[in-house]
Structures are given as structure tokens and as C-alpha cells.
Subunit: 351 residues, 2 copies
């Protein structure tokens, strides 16, 4: 598995004419995990002959245990440049977004090749095991939610409900939450990334709950919106606009043919029918895997064609300042002939 | 408060002869929070006349609510370069560690000044309110620990105990944990950053518990090590070596006179008396504030003098491969004439 991934990385190196690629640790150690199996901070150097992982003494023991045999482990974390010189490397591929300016400057003696985003492009197409891991994370999150759902009533605070849901995800097997659980009620839901407060959930409010589990490095991400109390015509109209934006944009995906931007535009168009598109202030979705936000992004500027074995969210939302927010998010796996919604829940139906 | 912080940043700008400083969001939005009051992703531009925060539509509403009046809010996140040109900026200060290579490259038309670490140097000296926030985070963590302490017995798994402690920190008022709670028992404690497993805690083992709370952006960080069962002479010797390394290195600090490196060396020397210094594989401590790890670092290469109103951890540890780990960590506030251990607990005594 690791061998195949490194082989694919070497194909990219050929394409970019690099002698080596240097990968630094980032959030969740995603790349290092993907190419070595080890959940450690370090610097990964892949050249034609070898893959070497350089770690500090703090992570050496963990790396010894977790890193696969096909990766050579070294403690020379401070000597990456020397290390490359000794191995006769001339052209070095580096990711300009996931490396600090200081990290890149250290390679001034080499020919630096812009390798930005290339590991994300490789990780975008999931392997069977990865898909199963993401599904597992999604099932854990869903089961935890079903456990705490009875507490979702007027009177409980946003933070109380968020803390219980987070706790139950862990009790159901998550290593941790994929990101801080969002519970946003009534006017608080106008902040897409609301931090749960001591505000009590009230009758008549929409409550947006955005949560995910993380296990063995893989993540899930989903959002429900519940209406507390009576379904007025006005509230039904708002909810259903978001619901159908999600449904139709999900349904239109033809594997190998549909562009990310087209899916975004489909959701936007649906919201525009009700003059709600001006309240849709973020992208429609993002890939999910070793990072909660990764390729592909479903945004109007991204014309990438959606391919089998991509996994991403579809999450239209509307945010009406001073009033309310509604967001519905599920994860979609693209298959050979169609798509599958991961961890589909009984909660999502038109009002 | 924000005004005073920005004034200090402008003094630094004078020192570095910059017309403006551009600060990008990093982990926990620490700098942005410090200089604007807003917990938002964005780009902060401080020049002679104004402080401008540029955010995306995703964070605009939050920024409107949270960012202080002395900071001008703008949605032009994509036009930072244009923005600077319009304001007549020529020399731009940038942090080379906390900016990606791509972010810095965007400023090629300007004279780029290396402003690396300067915001961390400002944040190193805490204000009274900040100290109170850190103490609050520490008290929450300590109180949560006291609540779950009765469960710390052979038979419970590392993960069960970690999940309960994390949950109780939130129940006691933490917004979230400052970092993933570490519970490492027996041989698992050789990994300083161990991820809690389903391994049951056993009689005769040392258990390392490293945890902290986060509230309103400020963090706490402390580590206890407990021995399950009988205190053998050999185990007492190991524990006490770490205990006295912590005690003596803490006690030696003279505000305004002692260097960070001297404190590190004092702890190391104490461990060396028992030939345990070879098992001490990390720094002695780090600053704590808006980030869990910030300036000052107590490492052998850092000759910074410890000043009043710095807050940092002192956390000597030994990690004997295949056998055990012991780490003791508390937070120290440097005062005018002496030091104060924050949230001192009844658990820490020599065996």
C-alpha cells in the first residue's frame, strides 16, 4: 500500500523532473501518515531509490513502531539539507502552500521545483481501505448522534449538547472529534463556524449541528439542521430550498463527467429560485480524508472533473444576518457508475 | 488593550524600519486574536495609521461582532497586495515561519523585511488579564482532574480515562481541551505524545497524564505521573529524580536574571546525578498563552533571560524504552521578585 503510494509519488516526480520531493509535517500529519504509515511529525524525503523519514528524538520511538519498513528512519531532522546533498539531489520538489517561507529558503542551494498540491492530488482518489475508514468515522458520528438526539430540545444549551455529542463520539470509538463540534441555534446559526455558547435552544429556532469523528487519521463531516417546534410555511420554504439544493446537486454527479464547479452552480441555482443565493456565503463542499478539508473543493472556480473514489461533502447553507442559518451536509462517495451518500441518516427529509 | 498592543507592534515596526506588518492566521488564530480581539481567520495589516483586518465572507459576521473598533474590517481578503499598494506601503514585515512560501511570494513587488517571531516576542510578556485567563484554564483543568481522579485505578483503559477527563474539563467550563489529553501507562509512557489506547492500566505501572483546558483562547498545560500500587525503592528513585529536577529548576529562577538555558541545564544536571539524563529527550518547557506552545522555550540553545509576566511550563521527563516513562509538568508565572506555580495541586510530592 505504502509502496504503491510512493510509486505514484515518483511518477509525479518524473512529471515534474525532480530528483527528490521533501514533505514537511502539516495538520494531522496527513502526508507523512499517507506515505509512511506513521503518525509523527517529521520531514519525508523521497528520491529515486529511497524514502527517508527524518524525525526528532521526541517522535523517534513512535516512528520506530509505526513507520512501514519501506521507509528508512533517521534522527537527522536538523540536517535535511546535508542529507539531500549527500544523496546527490539537485532538483527538489516542494509544496509552497504547505511549507513555510523559512523551510523553503533552506533549499536555496538546490533547484527548487514548485510541487504545490501534488500530494493532495494523489490523496484525492481514495483506496478501498481509506473509504472504509471514512465510512467507519461517519458511522461512529452518526451512532453517537442517535444516542444524544433525545436531548435535543428547547432548554438545553448549545454547549451542553455539543459536549455530549463530542463525548459520545469518543465513547462510540472515535479517537477524537474531527473538528470542534458546532451547535448553533437561532440567530447564532448565521456564523458558519459558530463556537457553541451557553445560549439555550429555544422553541421555533433552527439548530445547526455540524460534527465529525476521527479514527486512525480518517475523518467524517456532516451537518444536520433541526427545527424546534412548529413548521411554519415560511420555515418550510427556507429549509426545503437548502434541502433540494443539496439533493439536486448530489444527484447530478456523473462520475468522470461532472465538474466540481457545475455541482456548486447547481446548488446555487436552486437557492436562487427562492432568492436565497445571496445568503450562500461559502463553497459547496470539500474533500474529506486524512484531513477534514482537502481536495477536491466544490467551488465555482474549480473545474476539476469528479472521479470515482473521490469522497467529498455537499453542504449548501443559507445565513440570514440577525435571523437564522440552515446548513445541510452529507458526504458523497463517487463510484464507477453513480454516487453513494455515506452514512445516510433518517433525519434528512424535506419538510 | 488592543491599542496598547498595536502601539507595541508599531514600535517593533520602527525598529525593523517597516511601513507595515502583514500577519496571517495560524493555529488558534493567536496573533489575530491578540491584535484584533476576533477569533477569525484573516490577514491583518498594520501600518502607521491603521490596523486593517481582511477576512473572507465566511468569517465576516463573526469579525463584525468580535473585532474591536480600533481595527478596520474589510472583505478584500483576496486583494492584500492591492490593498498595500493603495496605502503606499513599500517595506513589509513578514514572519517567515508563520507564513507559507506562497504567501510571502505574493509580496515580491515590495521590500520584504524578516519580521519572524516578533509577534511571539510581544506575546511572551503577559498582561494581567491574560494571566488571569491562563489561571482560569488551569483551575478548570485541575478541578476536572480532581473529579475524575477516583477512576484512576488498574482496570480502566487509557482512553476511557482520557475521554472522561476531557469531558469533565468541558463540563467544568472549558471551551475545549487545549490539546488531545494524553494518558500513557507503563511501557506506553515512553512516547511523550502517546495517543491513549484501549490498553488497561495495570498494577505496578506509572501512568502519565498530560492535559490542559482552553477558554477564550487561553490555554493551560500540566502533567501528572501516578504510580499504581507499591512504591518500590527503584520506582521511588526514578520518580524522585524527575520530581527534584522539576523542583530545583523551578526554584532557581530569579526574575530578570536567569536564562532559559540555565533552567534547562539545572534539570538535566539533576537527572544526570542518577544517570537518567540520557532518557530526557525533549526541552524542559515552553511558554503557554494563546498557543499551547509559544515563547519562551526552555531549551539548551535559548539564552533569553526570564522576565516578570512570562508564563511557561517546566516539565522534565524520562523515557526508558520498553519500560516506562515519567513526566511532571507545571506552569510557572514569573513575578517581580519570585515565581508562582499556577494551579499547584495536592498530587505533586516526592515519593
Amino acid at each position: 500500500m505504502i509502496d504503491r503510494r510512493i510509486a505514484k509519488l515518483r511518477e509525479k516526480m518524473d512529471e515534474f523532473k525532480c530528483d527528490a520531493v521533501v514533505i514537511f509535517s502539516t495538520l494531522n500529519n496527513a502526508d507523512i501518515r499517507y506515505f509512511t504509515g506513521g503518525n509523527v511529525e517529521g520531514v519525508l524525503v523521497v528520491d529515486r531509490e529511497e524514502a527517508n523519514l527524518l524525525v526528532s528524538s521526541l517522535y523517534y520511538q513512535t516512528a520506530l513502531d509505526e513507520v512501514k519498513d519501506n521507509v528508512v528512519l533517521s534522527k537527522d531532522l536538523d540536517d535535511v539539507v546535508d542529507f539531500l546533498k549527500k544523496r546527490g539531489i539537485k532538483r527538489v520538489g516542494l509544496d509552497f502552500i504547505r511549507s513555510s517561507h523559512k523551510q523553503i529558503k533552506a533549499f536555496e542551494d538546490f533547484e527548487i521545483v514548485d510541487f504545490t498540491n501534488q500530494t493532495l492530488i494523489l490523496r484525492m482518489i481514495k483506496e478501498r481501505d481509506e473509504i472504509n475508514q471514512i465510512k467507519r468515522a461517519a458511522f461512529i458520528a452518526r451512532n453517537a448522534f442517535i444516542k444524544v438526539y433525545p436531548y435535543l430540545k428547547p432548554g438545553i444549551t448549545e454547549k451542553e449538547f455539543a459536549d455530549e455529542l463530542t463525548y459520545q463520539m469518543r465513547k462510540h470509538g472515535a479517537e477524537k472529534e474531527a473538528f470542534e463540534t458546532i451547535v448553533a441555534s437561532g440567530p447564532n446559526a448565521v456564523y458558519p463556524h459558530h463556537v457553541p455558547t451557553d445560549k439555550r435552544i429555544e422553541d421555533g429556532e433552527f439548530v445547526v449541528i455540524d460534527f465529525g469523528a476521527s479514527i486512525d487519521g480518517y475523518n467524517s463531516d456532516m451537518t444536520f439542521t433541526f427545527l424546534m417546534g412548529e413548521k411554519t410555511d415560511e420555515k418550510k420554504k427556507l429549509f426545503n430550498a437548502v434541502f433540494y439544493a443539496q439533493l439536486y446537486s448530489t444527484e447530478m454527479i456523473a462520475p468522470g463527467r461532472t465538474k466540481a464547479s457545475e455541482v456548486y452552480n447547481r446548488a446555487k441555482k436552486e437557492l436562487a429560485k427562492f432568492d436565497l443565493d445571496k445568503y450562500f456565503i461559502h463553497g459547496l463542499g470539500h474533500g474529506v480524508g486524512l484531513e477534514v478539508h482537502e481536495f477536491p473543493y466544490l467551488v465555482p472556480t474549480n473545474d476539476i472533473v469528479l472521479q470515482p473514489n473521490m469522497v467529498f461533502t455537499i453542504e449548501p447553507g443559507i445565513y440570514i444576518p440577525g435571523q437564522l442559518g440552515i446548513r445541510l451536509e452529507h458526504m458523497v462517495l463517487v463510484k464507477d457508475m453513480d454516487t453513494e451518500v455515506i452514512a445516510f441518516t433518517p433525519f434528512m427529509e424535506a419538510m
